[in-house]
Symmetry: C2
Subunit: 235 residues, 2 copies
Amino acid sequence: MVNAIKIPQFEVIKQYVRGHINSGRWAVGARISSENELAVSFSVSRMTARRALQELAQEGLLTRAPGLGSFVAEPVLAKPSLEIHNIVAIAQSKGTYSCQVLSLEQIPADAELADLLRFEIDQSVYLARFLHFDGSKAVQWQEIYVNPKVAPAFLKQNFTKVVPDEYLEWIAPSGHVHHQVGAVLARPSQRRALGLTEDSQTACLQITRVCSRGSIVASLSKLVHPASLYQLGTT
Amino acid sequence: MVNAIKIPQFEVIKQYVRGHINSGRWAVGARISSENELAVSFSVSRMTARRALQELAQEGLLTRAPGLGSFVAEPVLAKPSLEIHNIVAIAQSKGTYSCQVLSLEQIPADAELADLLRFEIDQSVYLARFLHFDGSKAVQWQEIYVNPKVAPAFLKQNFTKVVPDEYLEWIAPSGHVHHQVGAVLARPSQRRALGLTEDSQTACLQITRVCSRGSIVASLSKLVHPASLYQLGTT
DNA sequence: CAGTGGTCTAGACCACTGG
DNA sequence: CAGTGGTCTAGACCACTGG
């Protein structure tokens, strides 16, 4: 006996059921054997058969209903999703991160901004622009609007030592973060900052990030990345 | 007694443990009560206490190890992810979808394409270009390379009646789908097809999608969307 | 060694569904 | 009504970890 790894009984039953579903022997919507039937077939207790079906239900292969039975679930093609990897965090972990402060100011919110931040019009907002580097390469242009009530000392920070987003997360952990991804053309100032020369390079991925807690918006960032440097991927 | 909904015992224990973790009374990494201890404390059987801890472990709040115990897990901030919503499927469900075939051809794979498709160089590949409409508006430009071995009859389909991707999924269900999102500038032909006039509108979101099964690549699509029409979002 | 979590049993009671 | 899944019990044996 080489490598006699013990396979749990509930796993055997799961494989059996999975096999019948994947091969199509049990059609979508069809009722499958009950816990009791499986328990008898496999000579196990009901709790063991139950565990198999339960886990398959949690994996989305089965639907179960008291009084009715277990049914082959509609095959839900795993909805593809993209991880947003933070290019700044990556540079930091490599130790090659640096940040250039382009501007720090306090402005009154115009109508559009007030709407986005759930502010009153003309309420004062911090506006900062940063250029984030990985080594000598500018990888992200950031424009961030900050709620002064959440981070009153924001403009006084030394952003060559503290990453803006980390500072905000530190003093006011955000409950919800909303992301939106789109494509934009680099504006001339952005093009210069990011070192984009040819017209063909000016396509940028823009991530709009809103950090909020409850009904209070803490910050809104626009992150612009040269398309040549930044891609979102999945499998 | 109004609305005396029965709360299962394992749920009570889960709430108890969750409370101690969220409030910080049990620090990250700390060992928590064992199954046996909880069973005694709550006057339940070990299987019930076990279920509570097991489910919390699956939710990522606990780490468990035989012989050692259960520990408060590192709080993993839910990594933000983007759903890729299929603009074509949306138009279909609205009943306003239509498709225009721009080209259908068979070409030999050049070096780059052969690499992407895991093909031999000069092996024959189907290449098709489509323009997908939602009503009278062109919402997606698609360029798709198809493996003739997977879908030999691909070029003979009537794509005003069948969506290319659905046809492929139908005759050869793909095991893995890989997506990549980037920003591109619309090429002149794409700009014309998508009805983009001003230069400022030519920023496009491009999704590269590779469908494969095992080591065989079935198709590779480049989907180009005007940035004004297509955004990816999350919460 | 005593304690941990992982698997498993043979029972039990329950609310619920269909015929 | 008999059957279903949901909850629960009081036992059991196991491989594993630390002291």
